[in-house]
């Protein structure tokens, strides 16, 4: 009889005094490739990290590596969240840093990072090139790590994993932030390495998966349960009555929210936005789309007052020419913004309540006492989002889905004129996404202006009525939508 490849017995694990895994037993056989799905917060990530030896747990985990295989005898866990350091080994960055040109280079380039990784792991560089090509990442070789968007960081993580080809590869949320083409190519690449002998565990709830996947599982009550397929989970959505102060229509100081005239942005020789012309009027609901690296985040940074190059462009925000004596805080007070990058750089020392309250002042961190009316509005919103139990917990201690809800609450607390939601559902499962988008529809029904970035056509708020598509830094399409195109 063959030994199983992964053999787990009596695995117990607690996190923050909560039991996550309870006497878990699992055999993963040679030739099997798993998808582990199910609700968030059930312990999928903890199990993965325990298998990879990144966290300690009680019980036994045996992995029977193939001594004859040429593939590295190791388990690689690819985190759902990326992490990088600057040249001096410091991991403290801030959100707007990537938009500022600075000659003193802070972080490695993608190329240098990969060269270093290859050296460390003894890999040949010519083998990484086809992977870069397939994921549309080759053009980023000279980009610094700090300049990458979250989707691009995800690609970098995947490139390393596909290049290494460890005997056991565990990827937590492999598709997060990837556009449709990249997702398809990733699946092809995963099939290739599976054929070469890599065994896969993917943690996700996605439907389009590599062909090599043989088995599905979920974690229920701390135990691993094999299932035939990932069912779409029944998810009850209780929309509470929306707080009164958010039903009021925003007061617009101007009907012209955004106007860009031939806007250009470049870093040295590299042009990231070319001749952008775009107008957003009060109350409009926009969808902004484009491939990874098409310039979406940069475009939004101009709107949010975060880009130093705004000052040399013809740009009007809320009726005023940019650079006419306004401060960035004058601009931000009209806007509520959330993006994966903003989330990544957000204050790790803030509680849920403080995170939401800081939205009144557009600050990362809460630096003042709230007057009574404002603090009771925070309480109301906390209750509306079902976060009352969590309000004194650290934001970073919550599961990702809940963290996103908190940050959504932060963006709307002041009932802003403009809501910018840049891939707000990245990393959320389908049910959470559906819930989130229903909230957005409800919140925007008071006449709020919306700019929404999303890759998946099927997962958008229904209120969207216009679309702008970027391609390689240029406006490719601007159109009004009817519901047929969206469905």
């Amino acid at each position: 009889m063959f030994k199983p490849f992964v053999h787990i017995q009596h695995l117990n694990l607690s996190y923050h005094n909560k039991v996550v895994l309870k006497d878990l037993y699992w055999e993963m056989n040679i030739t099997e490739n798993y998808v582990i799905g199910g609700k968030s917060g059930t312990g999928k990530t903890s199990l993965a990290k325990a298998i990879a030896g990144l966290i300690s747990a009680q019980g036994s985990i045996e992995i029977d590596f193939d001594a004859l295989s040429k593939l590295p005898k190791e388990v690689l866990y690819v985190d759902s969240w990326y992490q990088f350091k600057n040249l001096e080994g410091v991991a403290n960055f801030y959100y707007q840093q990537r938009y500022t040109s600075q000659q003193a280079k802070d972080t490695l380039t993608v190329h240098a990072e990969l060269v270093g990784y290859g050296k460390e792991k003894g890999l040949h560089f010519d083998q990484v090139e086809p992977i870069l090509e397939a994921l549309g990442f080759a053009t980023f070789a000279s980009s610094q790590l700090i300049e990458l968007s979250s989707g691009e960081h995800k690609k970098l993580q995947l490139v390393k994993a596909l290049w290494l080809k460890p005997q056991l590869l565990i990827i937590d949320q492999p598709y997060t932030g990837l556009d449709a083409a990249s997702r398809k190519n990733l699946n092809i690449l995963l099939d290739h390495i599976a054929e070469e002998g890599v065994q896969l565990i993917l943690i996700c709830n996605d439907i389009e998966l590599p062909n090599c996947i043989t088995s599905f599982a979920e974690i229920r009550d701390g135990k691993l349960v094999k299932v035939d397929a990932l069912e779409s989970l029944a998810y009850e959505i209780h929309l509470r009555e929306i707080p009164q102060f958010l039903k009021e229509s925003p007061v617009y100081s101007s009907q012209n929210i955004v106007k860009m005239v031939n806007v250009n942005i470049s870093y040295g020789e590299k042009q990231v936005l070319k001749n952008i012309n775009w107008e957003v009027k009060a109350g409009e609901k926009w969808l902004l789309q484009g491939h990874n690296g098409s310039g979406k985040s940069t475009l939004l940074s101009l709107v949010n007052g975060d880009h130093p190059q705004s000052y040399a462009n013809e740009l009007y925000l809320f009726g005023n020419r940019r650079g006419s004596g306004e401060s960035i805080w004058d601009i931000k007070q009209h806007i509520g913004l959330i993006s994966p990058e903003f989330h990544w750089y957000f204050d790790a020392s803030a509680t849920v309540w403080q995170s939401i309250a800081s939205g009144f002042y557009d600050t990362v961190g809460l630096f003042q006492q709230l007057p009574y009316t404002k603090s009771s509005q925070v309480d109301e919103l906390v209750a509306y989002f079902g976060l009352t139990e969590n309000k004194n917990e650290l934001l970073t201690a919550l599961p990702l889905g809940k963290q996103r809800l908190v940050l959504l609450a932060r963006t709307i607390i002041k009932n802003p004129e403009l809501l910018i939601l840049d891939e707000p559902c990245q990393g959320l499962d389908q049910q959470q996404t559906q819930h989130f988008n229903q909230l957005v529809d409800e919140l925007c029904s008071n006449g709020m202006t919306l700019i929404y970035v999303g890759h998946f056509e099927s997962q958008l708020p229904t209120c969207i009525e216009k679309r702008i598509l970027l391609e390689k830094g240029e406006v490719k399409v601007v159109e009004s939508l009817n519901t047929e195109i969206l469905s």
Binding site: E88, G89, V90, A91, N92, Y94, Y95, Q96, Q97, T100, S101, Q102, Q103, A104, Y267, G268, G305, D306, P308, Q309, S310, Y311, A312, G325, E326, S327, I328, W329, D330, D347, A348, S349, S358, Y361, D362, T363, V364, G365, L366, F367
Partner: protein, 493 residues
């Protein structure tokens, strides 16, 4: 040019040393309005220049940069920094004549040349802004009588000035008006507005004077901030190697230990730092830091005396005139120390382990911070100023050591600080010779608590806690830290 401080009568010396007013946030209700619509021209575009300029522009002010012709024509980094972020850049002749405020953010050593070049071009009644007073106080630079001279000094590296601003906060800042140059009485209003434009008004602003800033800044950087951290790091490393501790481990413990230890100092003063130790270790650290204070007190006093008399700046400027002969020699020597040349080993050291296995550094930091603070206060500097230049800045310097050891620290700090640091280090090492002979690996390299049962005498512990907590640097620190409400915790270990 004569040393400005030495031209003053004693009464005025004491008067200017004693300027120190921790400003209430209500003083900043006017925001940037005193500078609104005015032309701000920054000389130099390095880390401070660029980041302060980005903040000022994002606060709605009109900012441009002036650089020397060679920097523009050669498209040097300073030129690229400014142009790629869409700032107007011009020569002195092009931009200075129209400037309402000229901001000098060049290195100390260039101040005389820069100010001599720009002063004739400045328009009647304009303002000259410094972020360090060395040129005015030590070199005695005389500024045209129609010009206003002010200082705004953010107490953080340029990158932090920007990072804190964009998250809606700021860094603690010191402001001052030069009493010889405030012909229209607008100096303070402009300094406050500039401070608000960089975000400093949210994090605690200290109104100081050029004299107080220079005399306290020099003292802090030479003794506790750079000097003692360098001496302590080198002696600790050498001791561990001598006693057979793995060199890679020793290197890592020293390189990162000081950052981890002073992060506690930043959050809660010496009390918090000492509280991270077990009771037995705390008592030991207290006792040896008392001993260290006695040994080093005369050296701290000598540094303060030389700074006050102008002797320090005189000898340093001689070295400037000499092509930095001493500075370059000492810099090279630091690069050759065993600590510097031994890379940090690939070992995991837990956060608490840095305290338990590096009790000696905790003692060094307590002794150094308290001594620097006490010596400054005895010399007539106010406790608030002394706090900023001792305890407050220690963690910032420790961060630079964690990045790339002493070489990095000495690269980041000013040449003036570096020069003073070497002077201190050379005098301090022999002074500690006998003390270090008694030090064993329980204080540095191994867990102090190992093999001890942890029992302590109640009364002794109570007395020691009381001594630590009641020190004046702790009292003033508690008040000042409250103003920096949202001080950011950094990711260490």
């Amino acid at each position: 040019m004569a040393n400005y401080f030495n031209t003053l009568p004693l009464r005025e010396k004491l008067n200017q040393l004693g300027v120190c007013d921790f400003m209430d946030s209500s003083e900043f209700l006017d925001g940037v309005s005193a500078l609104k619509g005015k032309k701000l021209v920054i000389v130099g575009c390095g880390a401070q220049g660029l980041n302060q300029g980005l903040n000022l522009r994002d606060s709605g002010l009109d900012v441009s940069y002036t650089l020397r012709k060679e920097a523009i024509e050669g498209k040097r980094d300073s030129w690229k920094n400014a142009t790629e972020n869409n700032f107007t850049v011009g020569t002195y002749e092009e931009l200075i004549p129209n400037a309402d405020v000229v901001i000098n953010l060049t290195p100390d050593k260039q101040h005389t040349a820069v100010v001599n070049a720009i002063m004739p071009l400045m328009k009647e009644g304009a303002t000259l802004l410094y972020s360090h007073g060395f040129n005015i106080v030590e070199e005695g630079m005389q500024i045209r009588k129609d010009l206003t001279v002010i200082m705004v000094a953010p107490k953080c590296p340029g990158s932090e000035v920007r990072a804190e601003y964009v998250r809606g906060f700021g860094v603690p800042t010191l402001i001052a008006v030069h009493p010889e140059n405030d012909p229209q009485g607008k100096g303070l209003a402009q300094a406050k507005a500039y401070c608000a434009g960089t975000g400093g008004h949210r994090a605690g602003v200290l109104k100081s004077s050029f004299v107080a800033e220079v005399k306290s800044d020099l003292m802090g950087e030479q003794t506790i901030l750079c000097g003692l951290l360098q001496t302590g790091s080198i002696l600790s490393f050498d001791k561990m190697v001598e006693k057979g501790i793995d060199a890679g481990y020793a290197s890592k413990l020293v390189q990162y230990g000081v950052e981890v230890i002073t992060e506690a100092l930043k959050q809660g003063g010496i009390t918090a730092m000492m509280d991270r130790l077990s009771n037995v270790a705390k008592i030991k650290a207290f006792e040896i830091s008392e001993e260290l204070k006695d040994i080093m007190r005369p050296l701290f006093q000598k540094h303060q005396d030389d700074i006050m008399s102008g002797e320090f700046s005189r000898t340093m400027m001689e070295d400037w005139a000499n092509g930095d002969t001493n500075l370059l020699k000492w810099r090279a020597e630091t690069g050759e120390t065993a600590f510097e040349k031994t890379p940090a080993g690939d070992v995991k050291i837990g956060e608490q382990e840095y305290f338990d296995n590096y009790t000696l550094m905790v003692a060094f930091v307590r002794a150094g911070v308290e001594l620097a603070f006490e010596t400054m206060v005895q010399a007539g500097i106010k406790p608030e100023s002394a706090y900023y230049e001792s305890l407050h800045e220690t963690p910032l310097i420790a961060n630079t050591i964690a990045r790339k050891k002493l070489f990095e620290m000495n690269r980041v700090i000013s040449d003036t600080a570096e020069y003073g640091c070497y002077l201190f280090d050379q005098a301090c090492k022999p002074l500690l010779g006998d003390f270090m002979k008694k030090v064993d690996t329980d204080l540095v390299g191994k867990n102090f608590n190992e093999g001890k049962d942890g029992a302590v005498d109640n009364r002794k512990l109570i007395d020691i806690n009381e001594a630590i907590r009641s020190h004046e640097v702790e009292q003033i620190g508690a008040t000042l830290r409250k103003a920096m409400t949202a001080m950011k915790a950094i990711k260490t270990a």
